[in-house]
Point group: C2
Chain length 475, copies 2
C-alpha cells in the first residue's frame, strides 16, 4: 500500500497553514454553540461512515473490526465530551478579582483573567490509533474546542483512512458554517513534511503522539524556530507494574491472566502497554511469574501495524533476549513469517538499574520481570524507569508503610498511577491525566487525553480595568 | 563593589542542589500549615530586618528608600498571599470523577487528579527587583508554596543584600523546623555558575527573570540537558500603549503626565516600562505628543542599577536617535557623567513595522511614539511589536468597532491588557497574569506574578481506583 502515500508539496503545506491562520480569528471568536455543533457533527459523521471507515482502517492497520469499532466509538465519545465541556463553558472560564482601593500592594485594580486560543495547531497523527489519535482524534478535538484551527499531519500507515476521515471533516465544517480552513491536512512519509509544518511561522503549537526518536527530533525543530512555540509530545513509556505480596496471594492467577492479555492487547502497540513488572519477593512470586509466562504463551496477538514496526520489535526482542543479564521465560521465539508472540524476560533488579539499555521501550508484546527483595529495591527500580505515562501498584489497599513508600515512588515518576487492573485503556474524563515526566511527555504538566487537554491550546490574558462591554463578554 | 562578588565553586553548587534534593520529599509531603508558617515567617523576617535591608539595598542599587521600602512591603505581602493560598488549599486541589459502570468509552474507573511538586527549582534573581524578584521574591514564594525546594542564584548587582536576606531565610527555615536545604543559594557574576546550576540533574525546573539574551542562552542550556525540564523565563518587552482619540480629548494632559512618570519610574528599569506609544491620529495628537515630551523633559530619574546597564542604555539610545527614521522629541542628550534623562523619539509607523531594530527593548527611560492614520495601521504596529508582557489601550470605553479591533489586536500579543493607567505596577492577585507570547515569556501559559505562579511548579497525577487511605489524603 506504500504506493498510495503521497508527499504534500511545500506549497500545499504553506497553503494549508495559511488557510488555518485565516480561519483563526473567526474560530477564536466563535461561541460555545458554534464549537460544540461542529464537534458533534464530526462525531455523527464518524458514526454515519462507520462501515466504510472501519473496513478501510482494517485494511491499513490489521487491528481487527472489534478494536476498530471500539476505537471509533471512543473517538465519537471524545468529540462529544469536548462538545459538552465547551457547552459547560470550559474554554471561556475566567477568574475575576475585584478592585481594592488604596495603595499597593494591598490596593489593586480590577482584574479579569480570561483565556485566548493560541492559534493554528499542527497535529501529528499516531500509527497505533487510526481514529482516536489521528485526523479527528483527541488532539484535534481539544484544539477545536479551545478555539484553535488544526492542520493535521496524516500518518503514512493509514493514508486512505486519513483521507476518508478528512473528507467527512470538510463536509461537517461546511455543513456547520465553520470557517473554511479550520481543519486542514497534509500528508507524507518523509520527515520533511512535518518539519516544514512545525517550522511555519503561523503555527502556534504542536501536538505529537509517537516514538521517542520522532518526537525528540521534531521538538528540536520547534525549539530552533525564530519564535519557539509549545511542543506537546507524548512519547510513550515502559509503564511499570509493582506487585506487592498481598495482591499475588489474593488473586495471583486472575492478575496473571489480566496482565498477559494487557501485554498482548493490540499486539502490545499501546503507549500504555505494560513493559516492566516488579514483584516484591514472597512465597507467591515464583508461581505467579510461571503462570504469567504460561498465560503469555497462550496469547495469539494479531499482526503489527507495519513492517517497520515489526522489524523494530523483532530486533528489540533479539537484543533483550541476548542480553547477558536476561533469561527468557516465555517459550516461543519470534518468527518473521508469523505474527509476533509475547515475550517475557527475567532480569536481576541490579542489572535493570545498572543497564539503561534494559529500560528502552520495545513497542510490541514484550515485558521484563524482576524480583525485588526489599521495598527500597523496588523504589530504586521505579526511579531507574524514570518518567512514565503510567505506573501500577497492586496490593496497596492496606496503606501500610510499604504501600505508602511504593505509591510515593510511583507518583514521583508517572502521570497516572493505577491501583487495580492494567494501564491499557485510558478513560476520557475531566480527571484524566495522560502525561508524565520526561521522556513520557515533553510537557509533563499537560495531558493529551481527557478534558484538560484543551488547556494546552489556551493562554491566559489578564484584563486590567476592562470596560463594561468587554467584561460582559466573559460573564 | 565588584570586589565582594564571589563565584560559587562547582562543589558548592552541587552541594546546594544535593541539599535541596534531600529536602524535596519532606517538603513535598509537608501540609498547608507547615508551608504557610514558613512563608509567613519569611515575611516577618523581611519586615523585622527592614532598616538594615533597605539600607543595604540602597547602597547596592541606588533605587532609593521610598521605592525599596515599598518593594519590601510588596515582597512580604506576596509571601503572605502565597501563605493564604496554601491555607486555602491551592496546591492540594484535586479533580474527582466517579466511576461509571459499563464498557468504555462511557464506562470508566474512579479517577482522582491531584498535583505533585516538581522538585528542586533553580531560581534566578533579577537586578531590578532586589526584593520582589530576588532571594525571597515571587518565584521563591510560589515554589515553596507548591512544595518545591529552591536554589537561588543571587544577582551580582546586590550580593550583600542577597546574603543578608538569605541569612534571615535560613533562620526562618530553622525556626519553623522546615527541612534543611529547602532554600539554598549560590552566587556568581559569570555565566558558569548559572549553567552548572540549571544543568544539575536534580534540578526539576528553572525560573528566570531578566534579559532576553541571558534568558535565551539559559534556555538553550536547559534544552540541552539529558532530561529537559520546564524553563520559565520572563524576558521583558516593550509594552505598547495605544491611545484612541477619545482618551486624548478627554484627559490628554493627565495622561501625558502619568505616562511620562511611568517611563521615568525607577529610571525605566521595569519589565513593564512603556516603550512604544501608538497614537490614533486626531486633532488632539500633536498637542498630546508635545506635552508628553515636555513632561518627560521635566522628569529627573535616579541613577541606573549598574554601569553595565547604563552603558547598554546609552548605546541603545544613541543607536535609536541616529536611526534614519527617528526624530528625537525630548530636549536633552544623555551625559555619561550624569543620571540618564528620558528619551522620546518619533518614528513613522511604516518604518517601525519595516525595521525590527526599532522594536528592540531599550532597558531604561526611553520611548518611541508613532502616529497611526487608521485603526488597521495601529493593529499592524501591535502585530509588529509581537509578544509583550503588557499592552495598554486608552479610550476603548465605548466598545465601538475601532475599540474592539484594537483590543482584539492587543489581546493577541500581550499577557495583560490595561484599559486605564500605565503598565508599571503589577498587582499580586489570583487573576494576575504576568507572561505573554514569546519573547515576553518562554512559557506564555504561565505567570511569574500572582497566585497562579504556583502552578508552574506542580504536575498533575491521575490516581485510578485509588485506595481509601490515599483518596482520604486529598479530601
Amino acid at each position: 500500500m506504500q504506493d498510495i502515500i503521497r508527499e504534500s508539496t511545500a506549497d500545499e503545506i504553506d497553503s494549508a497553514v495559511a488557510k488555518a491562520a485565516a480561519a483563526g480569528p473567526a474560530w477564536a471568536a466563535s461561541d460555545a454553540a458554534a464549537r460544540s455543533a461542529l464537534l458533534r457533527k464530526l462525531a455523527e459523521g464518524l458514526e454515519a461512515g462507520r462501515e466504510q471507515l472501519v473496513a478501510l482502517a482494517n485494511e491499513e492497520t490489521v487491528l481487527g473490526p472489534v478494536r476498530l469499532n471500539g476505537e471509533l466509538d471512543r473517538t465519537a465519545f471524545q468529540l462529544r465530551a469536548f462538545a459538552d465541556a465547551v457547552d459547560a463553558g470550559d474554554p471561556f472560564q475566567a477568574i475575576e478579582d475585584a478592585a481594592v482601593p488604596g495603595a499597593p500592594p494591598a490596593g489593586r485594580p480590577h482584574l479579569l483573567r480570561v483565556n485566548v486560543p493560541l492559534g493554528p495547531v499542527a497535529m501529528f497523527s499516531a500509527s497505533n490509533f487510526p481514529f482516536a489519535f489521528s485526523v479527528l482524534g483527541g488532539d484535534t478535538a481539544s484544539a477545536l474546542a479551545a478555539g484553535c484551527p488544526v492542520v493535521v499531519k496524516a500518518h503514512p500507515a493509514h493514508p486512505r483512512l486519513s483521507r476518508a476521515v478528512y473528507a467527512l471533516a470538510l463536509e461537517s465544517v461546511q455543513a456547520c458554517g465553520a470557517p473554511d480552513g479550520v481543519i486542514g491536512m497534509v500528508e507524507g512519509a518523509t520527515k520533511e513534511v512535518g518539519i516544514r509544518l512545525v517550522r511555519h511561522p503561523a503555527i502556534e503549537a504542536v501536538a505529537f503522539t509517537g516514538s521517542f526518536a520522532g518526537g525528540a527530533a521534531l521538538q528540536k525543530e520547534v525549539q530552533g524556530r525564530d519564535k519557539p512555540i509549545p511542543f506537546y509530545g507524548e512519547l510513550g513509556s515502559i509503564n511499570p507494574i509493582v506487585a506487592l505480596p498481598a495482591a499475588l496471594r489474593e488473586k495471583g492467577p486472575e492478575l496473571a491472566k489480566t496482565l498477559a492479555a494487557s501485554i498482548a492487547l493490540g499486539c502490545g502497540q499501546f503507549c500504555t502497554s505494560p513493559g516492566v513488572l516488579i514483584v516484591l519477593d514472597s512465597d507467591a512470586t515464583d508461581s505467579f511469574v510461571r503462570l504469567l509466562a504460561e498465560e503469555m504463551d497462550a496469547q495469539a496477538p494479531h499482526a503489527m501495524l507495519s513492517p517497520t514496526i515489526r522489524t523494530a520489535f523483532d530486533s528489540g526482542v533479539a537484543r533483550l533476549v541476548s542480553h547477558a543479564a536476561a533469561r527468557r521465560l516465555t517459550r516461543s521465539e519470534q518468527d518473521p513469517g508469523r505474527n509476533p508472540v509475547p515475550n517475557l524476560v527475567e532480569v536481576d533488579i541490579a542489572a535493570f538499574i545498572a543497564h539503561p539499555e534494559l529500560r528502552h521501550e520495545i513497542f510490541g508484546p514484550s515485558c521484563l520481570v524482576m524480583k525485588a527483595r526489599t521495598v527500597a529495591e523496588a523504589q530504586q527500580a521505579l526511579q531507574a524507569v524514570g518518567g512514565s505515562l503510567t505506573a501500577t501498584v497492586w496490593g496497596a489497599e492496606s496503606g501500610d508503610a510499604d504501600a505508602r513508600a511504593i505509591v510515593g515512588a510511583a507518583m514521583s515518576m508517572a502521570g497516572r498511577v493505577l491501583f487495580s487492573g492494567v494501564p491499557t485503556g485510558v478513560a476520557v474524563t475531566r480527571a484524566q491525566h495522560h502525561g508524565g515526566p520526561w521522556p513520557a511527555s515533553t510537557a509533563p504538566q499537560t495531558t493529551s487525553v481527557g478534558l484538560m487537554a484543551m488547556q494546552r491550546f489556551l493562554r491566559p490574558v489578564a484584563l486590567q480595568d476592562a470596560p463594561a462591554w468587554l467584561v460582559g463578554d466573559y460573564r
